[in-house]
């Protein structure tokens, strides 16, 4: 089961999907494009746990984290 984690005012919202299900995968890809298009940054982790920013949807990613655009505080 793969997960897309979106940071939001509730802490985060998790979208779990079966990456072997073509329909679920398409939905996840659409969510990825919608979020990154809205300015969210998408990040995954390497096997060593290092974060990596990804600009294209990776259907093999087990976990993708999205956080809103960064601005000066």
């Amino acid at each position: 089961m793969a997960t897309q984690i979106v940071m939001d005012r509730n802490g985060d919202t998790r979208h779990n999907f079966d990456a072997r299900d073509a329909k679920a995968l398409l939905k996840a890809e659409r969510r990825f494009k919608a979020l990154t298009g809205a300015g969210f940054t998408a990040a995954t982790r390497t096997a060593d746990g290092e974060p990596v920013v990804t600009r294209t949807f990776d259907p093999t990613a087990e976990e993708t984290l999205f956080f809103p655009r960064l601005v000066g505080g």
């Binding site: 984690i5 940071m7 939001d8 005012r9 509730n10 802490g11 985060d12 300015g39 940054t41 990040a43 982790r45 746990g49 290092e50 974060p51 990596v52 920013v53 984290l65 956080f67 809103p68 655009r69 960064l70 601005v71 000066g72 505080g73």
Partner: protein
């Protein structure tokens, strides 16, 4: 005299009870919300073992900027919480950059960590600079 002593004793008991009640109220009022706890959990999942140990011990952790190799300290807060460190580990400059939404501290800190570790220059380009205290 006996009556005064009894009144004094009762007053002390009342004050002790009030003090206990005040402490319990303070603990209840300052308890982290469910949202706050969720943010902390997510942060903990993404920290390296070294960062997690540092965070547990000091409520901050350090990251290395991907472009310059500089060290930054990210403290538990929702803003004005990123410090560039000098070679001795002392804060040399403060950097303020946050996600463009109202997020809890754990989420803010995680976004800052990922930004510095994957796009240090991009993060600092939008950040405001402040003098560390």
């Amino acid at each position: 005299m006996k009556l005064l002593r009894k009144a004094d004793d009762q007053l002390r008991r009342l004050l002790a009870a009030c003090s206990r009640w005040a402490l319990a109220f303070r603990d209840w009022y300052q308890r982290p919300s469910t949202i706050e706890l969720r943010g902390r959990k997510l942060l903990r999942e993404w920290l390296s073992p070294e960062q997690l140990a540092q965070y547990d011990a000091h409520s901050y952790f350090e990251v290395t900027g991907c472009h310059t190799g500089k060290r930054y300290r990210i403290s538990h807060a929702v803003g004005a919480n990123v410090y560039e460190l000098d070679d001795a580990g002392w804060p040399r400059a403060g950097w303020c950059f946050v996600p463009n939404d109202h997020l809890v501290a754990g989420d803010v800190m995680l976004a800052q960590k990922i930004a510095l570790e994957t796009d240090e220059r991009g993060a600092l380009a939008v950040a405001n600079n402040f003098a560390p205290r």
